[in-house]
Symmetry: C2
Subunit: 236 residues, 2 copies
Amino acid sequence: MAKSIRPAPLHVTLAVVFQVRERALQVLMWQRGRDPDKGRWALPGGYLDQGETLEQSIRRQLAAKVDVRELAHLEQLETRSEPERNPRGWELATAYLGLVPSDVDPAVPADTAWHPVDPVPPAAFDHGEIVGAGLRRLRAKLSYTNIGFALAPDVFTLSELRTIYVAALGREVSATNLQRVLLRRGVLERTGSKRDPGRTGGRPAELFRFRAPRLEVTDQFAVLRPPRRELRSATR
Amino acid sequence: MAKSIRPAPLHVTLAVVFQVRERALQVLMWQRGRDPDKGRWALPGGYLDQGETLEQSIRRQLAAKVDVRELAHLEQLETRSEPERNPRGWELATAYLGLVPSDVDPAVPADTAWHPVDPVPPAAFDHGEIVGAGLRRLRAKLSYTNIGFALAPDVFTLSELRTIYVAALGREVSATNLQRVLLRRGVLERTGSKRDPGRTGGRPAELFRFRAPRLEVTDQFAVLRPPRRELRSATR
DNA sequence: GCAAAAGTGTTGTGTCTACACCCATGT
DNA sequence: ACATGGGTGTAGACACAACACTTTTGC
């Protein structure tokens, strides 16, 4: 068979793992101890093993290297193939987007840390561009899907959710309108219970939760909508 | 170096190439002459060569196999990795979405043909799912980007454009509203000239063209829009 | 009572669909 | 004249941002 003589590239999986921490969107990276790009920050990941899928591979890398089993969402981002992307040799990389809810604090190895994403930290190889791609994907999906569930705790007040959206989108979001948009779409639901106000007082906040724990498109036909008849029978 | 002993999967690139032909969205496939999956239809593509990028690879495959240089748009779709996806052995596949304007008719080899996409033809391997992914991507982008430029001729009447959107979306679209939506967004512009009516008469149709020949997001903030102040300064 | 925090009422705006109507041509 | 295909006017639906206002607590 010709298979054994055909050259094949090495293949790695990488993950852009985001979490909202201290009111900022942060990305998990580790500091390279060796050349090339020694001292720069790299995305977690590693080589694909024989017989595993890309998703199994990135889950394995994340579980082994950074004890992140709290991954609430994981989706494929893109596959990079520039021959010069790794100076050591030909290597393809398939990147994933991972999201961790804001109420957990995974233990990470000594060389690994969370970095605010606003200025992307000096990154190894093409990892800075990959972080940018993850950021664009996350921000887009925040407006037309329920992806917020993967960044938020199980239950939360609306001002907590607002903090998360502000951090992730990098701009102001009003709690008033956030509530109405997400409730109307059926993305959020009220739990019925309330949170005790602090010693500073104030009206007790209602607790909400996301209705579905999986990604759903909530605003499928933002524009160029199908005729109303179809909408009513198919979507409603 | 450890590189030479690490097992790496073979890597192929595939393309879902769509064109609107005879008022239907069709996909380019070739019929396999050998097992596995002999007689079933497969997407064009082939093995990645050393030192080339995925995009170079799929462009080479398309140019060599099916003389499609009229590709008006090409974007990466997804990378598939299920170990059993090719029974002959471990093989990853990176799929691309390609679009051909409706006014050209590329010459294709004898084993290759266009297939209406409504029932996806009996496909080899996981190619049916890949066609589905391409279809979803195209349909979504038709509503929030200018991607129609890649399916339409350089200039066209609105009823011609309507035919293309109807075929691609698989549902009714009114020419009236299509015109207004696309004109308002600045996606379309009038050429100033008109098309002669046939011998059947009728008011001569204005000719339009897409303003930009590259993909642009035209409806970035479909929902959860940023505050008006930011919109005015940044977008307008 | 008053400050603080949360939630609701309401208005205005922009963008879309739907449909009636008007326009320009060939026969 | 009138059939035919193309374009416009306009009303209504809807979802959103903005902001004033009300509710509920602690002190």
